[in-house]
Symmetry: C2
Subunit: 611 residues, 2 copies
């Protein structure tokens, strides 16, 4: 069933600017070398409005001036930042690829190695090279300034603050010092392995824009190297902020190399998956030594965050006995099986301090895995889930003591009325470390549509305070997502994340909606398409029924037709009011209202019919 | 641009049972003649579970024993119920079709008339033939018992009551007397025109299952008769509970006839659309007489509810002056234009009592239109919107005084943090009359995906108490929805409605999720597909990667492959626990947990590895 691993096909990688968009960069003030990318969408001159600046996680692939060569990987822009801090050393004897790293794949089944040379770094003995440690020491790193500029969307002034933030403390403008402070307090992380020098830094935290993660990765059953690199580039093109490579099966090491070297966004993994492959898929045969070796392997490759299921403690496993769907986390079920087979405590828990020491040497962030998350509505918010969450809170303190950045993974399947408790428990027990949730799915009854069942829950928990939303695709529970599924999942989650930003009152959020709504009201169809999350689809839907260019300025669409277009009639009304009042601005209706009130309820200004 | 109206093509109407489903009926106890339909989904014998009973709004089209002939229409099952009450008379001189009813369409552009003969009823002079009036008099009608059986899903015992209902008073079991009481109090309506005798009655109310409306209808630009009948049948096949025919342009009368005669679900319209067509599209030329004539025309046809924009009062129109998107309701903008052109109060408001008298004579329910609903995030919850809402509350009391059933329409575009206020204001000002909301869309930035932006808001407002959710399709703001859009819209809204039922703690809701989750955990793939909202899509997604029949019983899918399937590992763990404890039921893990607790935290039962 395996496809041969096959070479990469660079032609398949989607490049080029998005419709109506221009790639622009802003330099740093503290760090003039940094160039923070944005996507600028210009609107029609008739609107007399400045271009709209969009957050842009798509990397150099959308820069028409960038030379993309995935055999070489992206430029290592961060390498000077990392080296200049003086606290890292080149690893003289980096770990060599072993046959088991790729599941003993051979011949045509072995994916090609990524061959461009690079240096491998780690912290000098005793040095703590994490953004958390720098922040604690008061250092504003280039990564922090990069994040501040990025989150600020080139604003000079605060935006509209209409929202309910549930205690989030989002500033009017995002400064480098604010970023430093949030990282120092552990309320935000900047996942940025010193070996991922191709990275465009970003932050995950409750007081920043809500982020979206997209999962990719092959399985034992399907997919090739080229497909996975393409999926990564495709996912970020639509706005994914981080990508998790959840590959299992053969070629894990080589696929990951290709992905990390070509990724401008943080890459996360679940190291236990590869460790399990190394022991032939037998959970009981897992050992600390195999796992440790895998951590070093992946840390040297440049993985930015590791999901570690250290909260699946032996005593919690029986709490899942009466669940409808048992343990549904892959990593959680593997560790549960190991624990029971050996009748021993989870070695990830017992060795947690050692894991911290490894991760600190490369600045790999923790994503503390929720191995006991509920997999059905019936199992939501049960004791197994919350016992693990409290443990993750304890482990957060340990990681922080070791100077390692931490976020906390969350559910899962949760009905709407139980979502808020998840956020509250997380805040209470995990000391405001960023929350990173999968969905949650708000019902189990719609296989094939779990991007929607979960976008509902994701929007809500994002509003309540989740910092990053892990997408769910339409294929969830059914099969490995393909390219279209990746796009559908990312778009659904960009909607959820933005709806959350709006509801939180994030000061950059409203400007986007308002710009699009003005375009809509003024029948600037091209602007409406280009300002949307998916211009190509919006345009295609419009053009299905009214394809001619002339209809790109028509004051109606095929939904209502010309006579029944409310926006057209609304405009007619305003025109009439304006004409009547001989006003050249939009004050006509206000005048009317004022006179109406003055007259005690009778409008005194007769209007000419405006057909 | 108009397609010729064309004949109906019966072959296009989708019929037949849905996958894995059996159409079953339950008779009434008070009214033995009624046959309430359900869809029964049997699960694999290995599960040792009874079939799952599903609410079924699909009508006779999914009954393999029903003879479908859309030229004749559906059987008039309600006619004896209506006639036997003794309070209606056959209209001796029913209104005849006039050329303007079909927009003066002629020749090949004129849609064929629905020609099967039928009697037209109205109330005898002085009689009040509404379900509200019957309920007030203590009469449990066949419609009420039908609804009670339908809502109860053949349960004998209450289901799981885990939810937060925000004051909704959902009983453990739904009785005919409960239905009567809710209708009498105005907290629920049963839209059931005495001339829509093909109807399978249903209820809309906060203490019943959350319902979904699908809009269909041609526009001046597109679509034929056959397309619209097909869309109606298609929409109810996927679960739409009511259908609004929002046709504009030519052939409105004839298309509606075909739809009503073939619809088992309530049909709603916005009569002002047809009235406007009758005056050539010139809003200023609308008159009470033309509108009145249209009400009678549609009431005689059997339309079950009318959207009436009587709350768009003259003094409120200036309140929209500074909005980003003005007035976005088609009916609202038409009436606003009329009001301003004539400098007069809305004639729908002034003639409201007369409208009530007409509607009472046929039991047409009000859907009091929110003509000033916000069309963008910027305009949400503004004074124009709430001024109208308060007026709708006043009108509700007038309608009730006349014995007419009422529901209230709601927004629109609303960010998450402003949704709850909409429900609270509606409850406060509209005296618990059912709320019927469009979405709301929680952001404006995703044209092409507004079924998702709005499913988020719909799920939330449904949870808070909205009784019926008006769907939004992916084509919203862009064009007229086609068949696929109708399906996508209905599915997204069935998800929202069910997520709302679950969160409210509706006692029928959880059983469905739990049945599907058990099927998922036990790798009963066929059951998982068939129990889902869209079995065909779920199956197709699964089969894209693992098409062979053998994989329909495999303990994994292509997402994770066999070694990484958490559910498989979870089952292995339970098997091991069971074997170890020599237990034949699922108590092994519990035993373990108990012994663990007794031993003060150390599990005393060694387990055999279970690979």
């Amino acid at each position: 069933m395996n496809k041969p691993a096959g070479p990469l096909e660079p032609a398949a990688i989607p490049t080029g600017e998005r419709p109506g968009s221009k790639k622009v960069y802003q330099p740093g003030a503290l760090w003039p070398d940094i160039r923070v990318p944005f996507r600028e969408v210009a609107v029609h001159p008739s609107a007399n409005e400045p271009p709209v600046t969009m957050y842009d996680s798509s990397g150099p692939y959308t820069d028409p001036h960038a030379a993309i060569d995935i055999e070489k990987g992206l430029p290592k822009v961060r390498e000077p930042w990392v080296v200049s801090r003086g606290d890292v050393e080149i690893v003289a004897d980096p770990r060599q690829v072993k046959p088991e790293d790729n599941g003993f794949a051979q011949g045509e089944h072995l994916a090609p190695q990524f061959s461009a040379p690079r240096r491998v770094y780690r912290a000098k003995a005793g040095a703590a090279v994490t953004q958390l440690e720098y922040a604690r020491r008061g250092i504003v790193t280039p990564e922090m300034e990069y994040v501040a500029i990025r989150e600020n969307l080139r604003r000079q002034a605060p935006g509209i603050r209409d929202g309910e933030s549930f205690g989030a403390e989002i500033p009017d403008l995002c400064t480098p010092e604010f970023v430093r402070d949030e990282v120092a307090r552990g309320r935000a992380i900047i996942p940025a392995n010193i070996n991922h020098t191709e990275l465009e830094p970003m932050a995950i935290g409750r007081n920043f824009l809500v982020k979206v993660n997209a999962n990719i990765g092959n399985s034992a059953v399907l997919s090739t190297v080229a497909d996975e690199v393409d999926k990564m580039v495709w996912a970020i093109r639509w706005g994914a902020d981080t990508v998790m490579d959840l590959s299992t099966g053969r070629n894990i090491h080589n696929i990951r190399d290709w992905i990390v070297r070509n990724s401008p966004v943080p890459i996360g993994t679940v190291p236990i998956y590869q460790a399990l492959e190394k022991v032939g898929g037998i959970a009981e045969d897992l050992t600390w030594e195999v796992f440790r070796d895998t951590l070093v392997e992946q840390a040297e490759q440049g993985v930015d965050y590791f999901t570690i299921h250290a909260g699946v403690r032996l005593p919690f496993i029986p709490l899942t006995a009466n669940r409808v769907t048992g343990i549904v986390s892959r990593g959680g079920s593997i560790m549960a099986k190991w624990c029971l087979a050996h009748h021993r405590e989870n070695f990830l828990y017992e060795r947690f301090a050692e894991i911290c020491e490894i991760m600190r040497a490369y600045d790999v962030s923790f994503s503390l895995g929720d191995g006991l998350r509920p997999g059905s509505i019936a199992d939501a918010n049960d004791e197994a889930q919350f016992a693990e969450l409290r443990t993750l809170g304890e482990l957060t303190k340990v990681a922080w003591k070791h100077g390692v950045q931490v976020m906390i993974e969350g559910p899962g399947h949760v009905p709407m009325h139980k979502i808020k408790a998840n956020m509250e428990e997380q805040l209470k027990h995990c000391h405001e470390a960023p929350f990173y949730t999968l969905g949650p799915l708000t019902t189990d009854v719609a296989p094939g549509y779990d991007h929607i069942t979960s976008a509902i829950g994701a929007a809500m928990i994002g509003w309540f305070g989740t910092a990053m939303l892990c997408y769910v695709t339409p294929k969830e529970h059914l099969g490995l997502p393909d390219r279209q599924d990746v796009k559908d999942g990312v778009i659904a989650y960009k909607i959820a994340a933005h709806a959350a930003d709006l509801a939180k009152g994030h000061p950059t959020a409203r400007a986007w909606d308002d710009a699009l709504s003005r375009a809509r009201f003024e029948f600037r169809w091209e602007d409406q398409f280009n300002l949307g999350l998916d211009p190509e689809t919006a345009r295609a839907y419009h053009d299905e029924t009214l394809p001619k260019e002339a209809f790109k300025t028509a004051h109606f669409c095929s939904m209502c037709g010309p006579k029944f277009c409310s926006m057209k009639i609304s405009q007619d009304i305003r025109e009439a009011a304006r004409a009547q009042n001989d006003l050249t601005n939009d004050q006509g209706m206000e005048e009317m209202a004022k006179k109406f009130r003055e007259a005690g309820g009778e409008i005194q200004v007769p209007l000419t019919p405006a057909e």
